[in-house]
């Protein structure tokens, strides 16, 4: 809880400082800031949604990306060591926001016809269409938010468990087994090295999951906005 408030404060500070004095010839900090925001803008949002719709949904997708990234990164920063996203509340909020966002995008564009477009595939006989409508309903309106939540949550939980296992084993081997004079305790060096390696892996996973949840939200919006097939 405290970690999340801290992350939000840090994010607000970074964005305030980053966007306060924009110069035509960027300083070093501004280059980093512009690289991060530019990556989300060009590669994720405009790359999937296109120029016009991308600009409409830019703020919320940008927020999803940076909040997720910030919360994920607390999982590997030493004094905290637990990701803000490794408790179900935050991934759930992200998924619910994305869920309402793509339904809103579809309903705004097509009205109630959106649900018909999403569920009923044209050019099939009625029995097949009814069967597929049930499948489409399950995958679009029920499984999408569930998988969005679980993907982020379980990545973070599994990463946390791996780190806990490695460092707990290090503690056990070095300070219990080796202190007893058993040479098997030198295994602790190996587990410590693996812990450090998994920390680097977690750094990669944190960025990857932020990217994935944002691009999936963008793709869902794009599918809702697509013309009827």
């Amino acid at each position: 809880m405290l970690i999340r408030l801290l992350v939000v404060a840090v994010l607000l500070l970074i964005f305030w400082l980053g966007s306060r004095r924009m110069q035509l010839i960027p300083t070093r900090a501004q280059v980093v800031f512009e690289f991060a925001t530019g990556f989300v803008r060009n590669n994720i949002v405009i790359g999937t949604l296109g120029e016009k719709d991308g600009k409409r949904f830019m703020p919320v997708l940008m927020t999803i990306f940076f909040v997720t990234l910030g919360m994920n990164l607390t999982g590997i920063i030493p004094p905290f060591q637990i990701a803000g996203t490794s408790v179900i509340g935050l991934p759930l909020i992200m998924a619910v926001v994305a869920y309402f966002l793509f339904i809103y995008a579809g309903v705004r564009k097509f009205g109630l016809r959106y649900f018909k477009n999403a569920l009923i595939l044209p050019g099939l006989n009625p029995i097949m269409a009814a069967f597929l409508a049930i499948l489409e309903f399950l995958s679009t309106f029920i499984l999408r938010p569930i998988t969005l939540t679980l993907r982020l949550l379980m990545n973070m939980v599994a990463g946390h468990m791996l780190l806990v296992l490695c460092f707990a084993a290090t503690d056990f081997f070095l300070f219990t087994v080796l202190a007893d004079g058993n040479l098997l305790g030198f295994l602790g060096v190996g587990t410590f090295a693996f812990g450090l390696a998994f920390t680097l892996l977690e750094l990669f996973v944190a960025a990857l999951q932020a990217y994935v949840i944002t691009i999936l939200a963008a793709i869902y919006i794009q599918m809702a906005l697509a013309e009827e097939h």
Binding site: N43, G47, I146, T147, L150, R151, L153, M154, N155, V157, A158, L208, Q209, Y211, V212, I215, L216, I219
Partner: protein, 73 residues
């Protein structure tokens, strides 16, 4: 003989078989495509990570099974 334990890890193991094969296919095909057309690497990488994330989700759902509080028999 009495065996006591939890079946959830077994479920994760079974789910990981499928996800593992899927991720392997995705990465392998991406490498193949990049070998054919190196200039598409950036775009293919994005698609690869997306595909991996979608495939992995099944294994992660299996991890979540361990956290569902089933009533004791």
């Amino acid at each position: 003989m009495n065996v006591v334990g939890q079946l959830a890890p077994l479920a994760f193991g079974l789910a990981a078989i499928g996800s593992g094969i899927g991720v392997g296919i995705i990465v392998g095909k991406t490498i193949e495509s990049v070998a054919r057309q190196p200039e598409l690497q950036g775009r293919l990488q994005g698609l690869m990570f997306l595909g991996i994330a979608l495939t992995e989700a099944l294994a992660f759902i299996a991890i979540a099974v361990a956290f569902i509080p089933f009533p004791a028999p």
